[in-house]
């Protein structure tokens, strides 16, 4: 019995090994492994040249001065008397003596140089008489002078026969002063700074947006979220309604605040007053602790006051944006070399102005949908079963129609079908039918796992986007916002959001359940539970993942320039394409230094913070 298993086992092991070998062999075939190519003389020569260039990054260089001298000669020797025409060399400066003064192509001549810089070197060239702009290297091209500025070299003449006079030219260069940073080094410095800041900005942007996503993609938080169908339907209906309302509200506030925006004092007054008003309204409308529910008029007044507070807040924000832009503009003119601070302020104002409507619309969407959702929840709890069923049927149909209608609009926008019956009416009908079916087959007061649906959708979204490399995203963003670092930041930022979202959510899934249970047991809401029991637990891994991502972003931003996304990659690619390997080496060195430095910085910070 025992023996048989061992035979079986070794058979299996043998089969396994054979299979692995087969796969590896096929891999050789597919990837065209070809080592003879390595041995080719020409390839080895190129490789040596490239590696040598790479090992001498173009960072520091001396300023040079040079002396050159030219000596005539005939290739091949002309008829009798031809040699007498050659003038004797001018011995006051550097000069060359070629002996013999004529030779056939392929024969050797001796070249002596006098009065050059001592202990220096430079190229020795053959200058054809017919084509003087295209000199030919002689021998190994380099001559070296001794202490008196003399050199002697024996060299083979090239196959460039001519009747007329031809020349040999020696150029000897020497360094002056101390080595200076080259043009390449300056460019590399500019671009590596750009690269680091691209990575920084992308990481910051990505982290901020990845955190909320990560909660939606955490199974342990979402699996217990269940709501009655009426509540879910109203939530779905609430989003578009709220977004439209919020957008309109922000636009209205914008038109109201526009006249004030141009005058700085009015600006400042508005910025000072609106948070105060907002704060007071919030304090009144959101009592800190209320053991006895307030009277009905107060309960009605509160949401109204909240709306006023939000409008005041939006007003303050739009004023703040205007002020930042005003001050930024004037600072830009005043500050001189610190004008970038003014520009920063201006851009912040611009960002605020652009994001306020979006944030306002999203916030309003969230508020309206959660309000309607609560309404639906209450309704489902209090109404009779038949009433709830009726409501479910109506609301689910409307919600389904909304979802499918919006999808239809998206399809219309992407594919330009141009036939509303396909992209509008049919989707509306199908959505309504799906909603109705769901409502028919769900017991009226049953809860549905909407948390799990949100979880799956978020997960799918994260996984789908994560599989698109940042480099590919950059191509899209280059088209959207133009070539330059901003496109790179957007691409890296988006990729950071989705990949951090996934990493974060896995951290949320691995927290200790005990504290969550304890906080839940105090009667805390779900959001409170997240803030008090989940967030403190995930801070260390979040910080460490963010650092890790920063590291990745620095490395990614070095190559995102390959597709026009800004940063050092653009320079690197250009120099590689121009076969300018010494410059490329300078950029590679810069990347290596930055990546290593980031690694040290992040490990130091991790030690300090986590």
């Amino acid at each position: 019995m025992k023996k048989r298993t061992s035979v079986w086992k070794s058979l299996r092991a043998g089969l396994g090994t054979g299979l692995v070998l087969l796969v590896v062999a096929y891999g050789f075939q597919i990837t065209k492994v070809n080592l003879t190519e390595l041995r080719s003389e020409q390839r080895q020569g190129s490789l040596r040249r490239v590696i040598r260039a790479l090992s001498r990054p173009d960072i520091l260089a001396y300023e040079k001065e040079e002396r050159s001298a030219t000596a005539p000669l005939y290739v091949p020797c002309p008829g009798e008397g031809g040699l007498d025409v050659l003038p004797p060399p001018d011995t006051s400066g550097p000069y060359l003596v070629v002996s013999p003064a004529c030779a056939a192509p392929g024969e050797s001549v001796q070249v002596e140089g006098f009065n050059f810089y001592p202990n220096a070197g430079g190229p020795l060239r053959f200058v054809p008489g017919r084509d003087p702009t295209n000199p030919v290297a002689l021998g190994n091209d380099i001559v070296a002078t001794d202490g008196e500025g003399y050199f002697i070299a024996t060299t083979v003449l090239p196959d460039r026969p001519s009747d007329g006079v031809q020349y040999v030219r020696a150029t000897v260069r020497r360094n002056i002063g101390l080595p200076q940073l080259t043009e390449t080094a300056h460019n590399t410095w500019d671009k590596i700074i750009e690269t680091v800041f691209m990575a920084l900005l992308a990481t910051a942007l990505g982290t901020v947006l990845a955190i909320p996503l990560s909660f939606l993609a955490a199974r342990n938080l979402m699996v217990s979220v269940r709501s009655p169908l009426a509540s879910i339907s109203l939530t779905i209906l609430g989003w578009p309604m709220g977004i439209v309302l919020g957008f309109l509200a922000v636009r209205w506030v914008g038109t109201v605040s526009a006249p004030l925006a141009s005058s700085v004092p009015a600006n400042i007054a508005a910025i000072a007053l609106s948070p105060l008003g907002c704060w007071l309204a919030l304090r009144w409308a959101l009592p800190q602790e209320e053991l006895v529910p307030a009277a009905l008029p107060i309960r009605i007044a509160r949401p109204l006051v909240l709306i006023v507070a939000v409008l005041a807040g939006l007003f303050g924000l739009s004023q703040l944006a205007a002020l930042a832009m005003n001050i930024g503009l004037s600072l830009q003119q005043v500050l001189g070399s610190f004008a970038f601070l003014g520009n920063f302020l201006f851009q912040l104002g611009e960002i605020l102005r652009i994001t306020t409507p979006v944030l306002g619309a999203l916030a309003a969407g969230g508020a309206v949908s959660s309000l309607l959702g609560r309404f639906g929840q209450r309704g489902a709890e209090r109404m009779s079963t038949r009433g709830v069923k009726l409501f479910n049927l109506i609301l689910a149909a409307a919600a389904g129609a909304t979802i499918f209608g919006l999808l239809g609009l998206l399809i219309e926008a992407l594919y330009e079908v141009g036939r509303p019956e396909y992209t509008l009416w049919w989707p509306l009908a199908i959505g309504a039918a799906a909603g109705l079916l769901l409502a028919v087959f769900t017991k009226a007061k049953d809860t549905l796992p909407n948390g799990l649906v949100i979880y799956s959708v978020t997960r799918t979204f994260l996984n789908a986007l994560r599989s698109v490399e940042a480099l590919v995203m950059a191509i899209v963003f280059v088209i959207a916002v133009g070539i330059g670092p901003f496109a790179g930041v957007m691409a890296l930022g988006l990729h950071t959001i989705v990949s951090l979202g996934k990493l974060y959510s896995e951290q949320v899934e691995s927290i200790l359940p005990g504290p969550m249970e304890a906080v839940e047991a105090t009667g805390a809401t779900r959001l409170q539970t997240i803030i008090y029991a989940v967030v403190p637990q995930i801070i260390p891994p979040y910080i460490s993942y963010t650092m890790y991502r920063w590291d990745i972003n620095v490395r990614m931003s070095t190559i995102i320039g390959f597709v026009g996304g800004g940063g050092i990659g653009f320079l690197l690619q250009q120099n590689i394409n121009l076969l300018n390997y010494r410059a490329a080496a300078a950029q590679m060195l810069a990347i290596a230094v930055v990546v290593a430095a980031m690694d040290y910085v992040s490990s130091y910070m991790r030690q300090k913070v986590v």
Binding site: E289, T522, L527, I531
Partner: protein, 271 residues
């Protein structure tokens, strides 16, 4: 200190003191996903102000029972009435209002390790404060003062600003008790509160629970492992075995035969 139940002071002016039934559990059944029957038609009553011990082997359903009472675990069947209100039928909003009157103490303390002790204690107030403000970590000043008073009461006021995981086990459990006290509880559910502590600490924690029970008149449901603790602190005992209620009575009534019914034939008394 107050041995005679009749002399217990009224817990709150709204309620009568004495033998009014506070908690009624009837036919409570919990079947977990996968078919494990953790509770099997358990019925019992807890009068106002009693310290009830729940005993039984590990896995006998004690934790599930306690968690069904505040619906951290959703019961499969049965009814739980609390002052006449049906907990099992409560809507999520109602459930949160009920939960905030049930303090809960856990075997592994379940503190948020990285948060300061004070924040952990204040978390007990989350059911009362306005969610919007608490999200910004803003608590009313009275609540912060109250939290400090609770920490003083359990004797660790000096640790208020330390991280919770820097405290020893006994201190952590006191934080857990302070957190439960922040809820102004009418009932405390204690799930093996002393099982991770040494005997000396176990007595000190049990004394805190006893004091809360006898002085404040808070009903305490406490699952325990050691019979000497049961004898020393409990007013009444119920015992579970494989999800079924196998004993209900006074601690003194647990004789050798009853002991074997509860813990199985091969068990021996250790304490």
């Amino acid at each position: 200190m107050l041995d005679n139940p009749g002399e217990r002071p009224p817990a709150s002016s709204k309620r009568f003191w004495g033998s009014q039934t506070m908690l009624q559990v009837s036919n409570l059944t919990k079947i977990y996903e996968g078919g494990v029957k953790a509770l099997d038609r358990v019925s019992f009553e807890v009068p106002d102000g009693q310290l009830l011990a729940i005993i039984g082997l590990s896995g006998s359903g004690k934790s599930t029972l306690l968690r069904c009472i505040n619906r951290l675990v959703e019961p499969t069947q049965g009814k739980i009435l609390w002052n006449g209100e049906d907990i099992t039928a409560a809507t999520p909003d109602e459930m949160r209002r009920i939960r905030r009157r049930f303090g809960m103490v856990f075997q592994h303390f379940n503190l948020v390790h990285r948060s300061p002790v004070l924040t952990n204690v204040l978390a007990g107030r989350l059911g009362y404060v306005n969610p919007a403000w608490s999200l910004l970590n803003r608590f009313p000043r009275e609540d912060v003062e109250k939290a400090m008073r609770q920490l003083e009461r359990v004797g660790i006021a000096d640790k208020a600003h330390e991280r919770a995981d820097e405290l020893s086990g006994g201190q952590q459990q006191r934080v857990g008790i302070a957190r439960a006290l922040m809820q102004d509880p009418e009932m405390i559910l204690a799930d093996e509160p002393v099982a991770s502590l040494d005997p000396v600490l176990a007595h000190s924690i049990m004394k805190h629970l006893e004091e809360i029970n006898k002085q404040d008149g808070v009903t305490v449901l406490c699952s325990l492992h050691f019979l000497d603790l049961v004898h020393r602190y409990a007013d009444r005992v119920i015992a579970l075995n494989e999800g079924q209620l196998v004993f209900e009575g006074l601690p003194e009534e647990i004789d050798d035969q009853k002991f074997k019914d509860i813990y199985g034939r091969d068990a021996e008394r250790v304490g």
